[in-house]
Symmetry: C2
Subunit: 138 residues, 2 copies
DNA sequence: GTAACTGCAAAATATTTGCATCCTT
DNA sequence: AAGGATGCAAATATTTTGCAGTTAC
């Protein structure tokens, strides 16, 4: 079952304010990652730019959303999967960016295979960005 | 054999200017990826900020360097491997970012295993960012 | 000689900070 | 009531553009 935005905010010990709820709802409604400007486009001028920046930073810090790597270096953000909580974060993300529609989405079901690194390297976390054409744009 | 910076510039049909040579030499000398500010730190005030921006953009456009994905979204740049040329670009990069020393480097020898995606997805390019502790910092 | 490159100034963007006020708990 | 969140103004940082002068080929 999907959690409500209120529940999510409560889980992360965040006060439930209008801006937080509305921005969080965007993430819940969209299946793909959002850039700062995607978000601002939706909530402006209802909320101030600064509030959007601060809200994103808070969400990030609390581990509610994560940064998604984009080929162009423009950061995007996406909700962490339901298996993430404040204490237990799951870190191996696979993201797919479609070159047609430009949307980046998390492929929760795809696992990154084991990679063998040269001796002496320790792996904490892996992020795989795949670029290509998605199902819908095929 | 390693190519000289002059040779590399010639290969990419770029005029050999002082700033291009000096910036290219930085990439040749450093085994790891450089951010814009890493570069500016080295060449300022000898060259103007604008020149650095334009030089990087030119190198990128010509395919001489590539953007390296960083967990913090701050773009970094690295020389493409010698197997890349203007026409034939090899695209499956593995980058390793050490959480101790902060350096990001390309692991040229590591291959990304085949990933099976849901039906309907086409893969053009893959970038894997691994974070952990490197050999030297162990 | 000519097209391309560079530096300077300035514009345009993007992000952060300070502070007074308001709102959630 | 109190601490945290917000909005506004403004500071700071980052990147781009225009243009005149210079340089590589």
């Amino acid at each position: 079952m999907t959690k409500s935005h209120q529940q999510i905010l409560r889980d992360f010990r965040l006060r439930s304010t209008n801006s937080r709820s509305d921005i969080l709802k965007l993430f819940i409604d969209q299946p793909h990652a959002l850039s700062y400007s995607d978000i601002e486009k939706e909530v402006s001028p209802q909320y101030d730019r600064v509030t959007v920046y601060r809200t994103l930073k808070t969400f990030l810090t609390k581990g509610m959303i994560h940064k998604v790597l984009d080929d162009h270096g423009a950061p995007k953000y996406a909700l962490c999967s339901t298996t993430c909580s404040q204490t237990h974060h799951h870190h191996n993300h696979v993201h797919f960016k479609c070159s047609q529609c430009g949307q980046t989405s998390c492929l929760e079901k795809v696992e990154i295979p084991t990679i063998s690194l040269p001796a002496g390297f320790t792996i904490d976390e892996m992020n795989l960005l795949i670029q290509g054409v998605c199902q819908a744009c095929k």
